[in-house]
Amino acid sequence: MKNTTGMFALPARILHWLMAAMILAMLFIGVGMVASVSERHEWLLRIHKPLGIAILLLAVVRLAVRLRHPPPPLPADLPMLQKLAAHASHWLLYALMIAMPLVGWAMLSAGGYPVMLGASLRLPAILPASATAFAIMRHLHSWLALLLFLTFLAHLAAALYHGLIRRDGVLASMVGGSRKS
């Protein structure tokens, strides 16, 4: 099903902006909680785990929406390198929004922690307890978070570039409203 509207489908736009807010919040929560010794550490940690699982579930829904409703094509006059960067960064974002919660879940499992999403809702372990696996997963969680944040910054800069410099309708296709300014 080819996209001929020049816009992202409404479900795709809703998921994009909802998850943008959730993922950005998640990055700030994660960085804040590990740098804090105050009661913020506790309540941020309490938000972090269920929010991460929510992002994982929404990312799967979003992939399905993307397959069902392909995104509008990039402008034909966009240089090849920029097209490549756009596609690569989008798939990297998808990969990271699925990998981050899974790595976090695996890390808690390997550390022997119960994976609690609330007072009594518990997820099963997805890795056996292992100090080595814990350490690797815990570091991976930080490095992937950094990569996700840098990819987000590039995505943000590229969106602004499309909207302010090229004015080629790419930003509008996700923001909604009229196609060309």
Binding site: L27, F28, V31, G32, M33, V34, A35, S36, V37, S38, E39, R40, H41, E42, L45, P79, G111, G112, Y113, P114, M116, A119, S120, R122, P124, A129, S130, A131, T132, F134, A135, I136, R138, H139, F149, F152, L153, A154, L156, A157, L160, Y161, L164, I165, R166, R167
Partner: protein, 364 residues
């Protein structure tokens, strides 16, 4: 720098647009850096607390950064059911038996410190509840903690940093710390008469921090708890032996299990839950929640307690943290210490090699 590609927009509008494209992501990056503490090196972070432990006693790769010297134990908790009216935690259900993996230790970051060097012993427990939830607790053999906040705790660690000239803490700095922290008075009064015990088995272990029990009807009770020993043959520690505690434990367990009663104290309104330096009045209702039975011990470098982070905020449904400011700080600092030592266990690049030789030598 205008876009080299032709664009219908007049070039005069580009500088502002480019500035915005640069400024928005930069502002995001700065905000994250601020939240992460990278712009404020004076902020107390878990990493700075653990760094200070390493300053005070050196780095001992693979070991916990505090309470480094210890021994693993295993056993179970047999619930009496008497705490069940106050907490829905499955561990308190009448007749419930919950397996426990624990650890006895002495405070300090040196895994080779003589057992008699401090009058404090600690007991850490992980209860593995049948429903998959866990209760982790770290208790000390003293009724009050010296300080009430992570900031004061950090200041105490700094004051205790050995002077490079003498290899001992500077008495003037310690005196200045205690003068500036009158809340340490109750702990110091206890420490004045406390003697290093000859056995882990004869000590009481206090939760120190307050927690909150939630009952089936939603009622909440602030609590503290302690493990009260059945063994009361307390004796003075043997002189000239740096490693008597593990040997004593092994000897006692060869003759049978060791027992502690879990005594839960219920606060009355107004009792401080956010200040571990203040004991609650002695007349508070105390519930005998059941019996901890310790059946076996294992060396800590290969035993099942090795890879457990005894984070006291890992709690089952029915027990919650209180407003005690030490609890989140303990959780955050333990997590940092756990990552450092598991990274060393995993031989990850950039970590120190696991220090096993002296441990092997110390073992009979």
């Amino acid at each position: 720098m205008p876009d080299p590609h032709a664009s219908p927009t007049p070039p005069a509008r580009h500088p502002g647009a480019w500035a915005l494209i640069l400024a928005v992501p930069t502002a995001c990056a700065l905000a994250l850096a601020y939240v992460g503490g990278w712009l404020s090196p004076q902020r107390l972070t878990p990493g700075r607390i653990v760094d200070q432990f390493q300053q005070n006693a050196g780095v001992h790769p693979g070991y916990r950064r505090n309470h480094a010297k210890g021994v693993c134990v295993a056993g179970y908790f047999q619930s009496s059911g008497e705490a069940a009216p106050y907490s829905v935690a499955q561990v308190f259900a009448p007749g419930q038996r919950t397996p426990v993996v624990g650890r006895f230790a002495i405070p300090g970051s040196n895994p080779y410190a003589p057992d008699g060097s401090v009058p404090i012993r600690s007991m850490a427990l992980r209860f593995a509840l049948a429903n998959g939830q866990q209760w982790r607790t770290g208790m000390n053999s003293m009724p009050v903690f010296p300080v009430a906040t992570p900031q004061a705790f950090f200041a105490q660690l700094q004051a205790g940093q050995p002077d490079p000239a003498t290899g001992k803490p500077d008495p003037a700095k310690l005196a200045a710390f205690f003068a500036a922290h009158p809340e340490t008075a109750a702990f110091r009064a206890w420490a004045k008469t406390a003697k290093p015990s000859a056995s882990f088995a004869t000590d009481s272990y206090w939760s120190l921090d307050a927690f909150v029990f939630t009952a089936a009807d939603g009622a909440q009770h602030a609590v503290r708890w302690r493990m009260a020993p059945e063994s009361v043959d307390g004796a003075a520690a043997p002189a000239n032996d740096p490693d008597y505690l593990a040997a004593d434990l092994r000897q006692r367990l060869a003759h049978g299990p060791l027992h502690w009663k879990l005594l839960v104290t219920l606060a009355r309104p107004g009792d401080p839950t956010n200040d571990a330096t203040k004991a609650w009045p002695a007349d508070r209702t105390t519930v005998d929640a059941g019996m901890l039975v310790v059946e076996s011990e294992q060396p800590q470098d290969s035993g099942p307690c090795r890879d457990i982070n005894y984070d006291p905020t890992v709690l089952p449904n029915g027990i919650e943290v209180s407003d005690d400011p030490l609890l989140p700080a303990r959780s955050a600092a333990y997590a940092d210490s756990y990552l450092r030592r598991t990274s060393e266990e995993a031989h990850l690049p950039g970590t120190a090699r696991v220090d096993t030789k002296p441990q092997a030598e110390a073992r009979p």
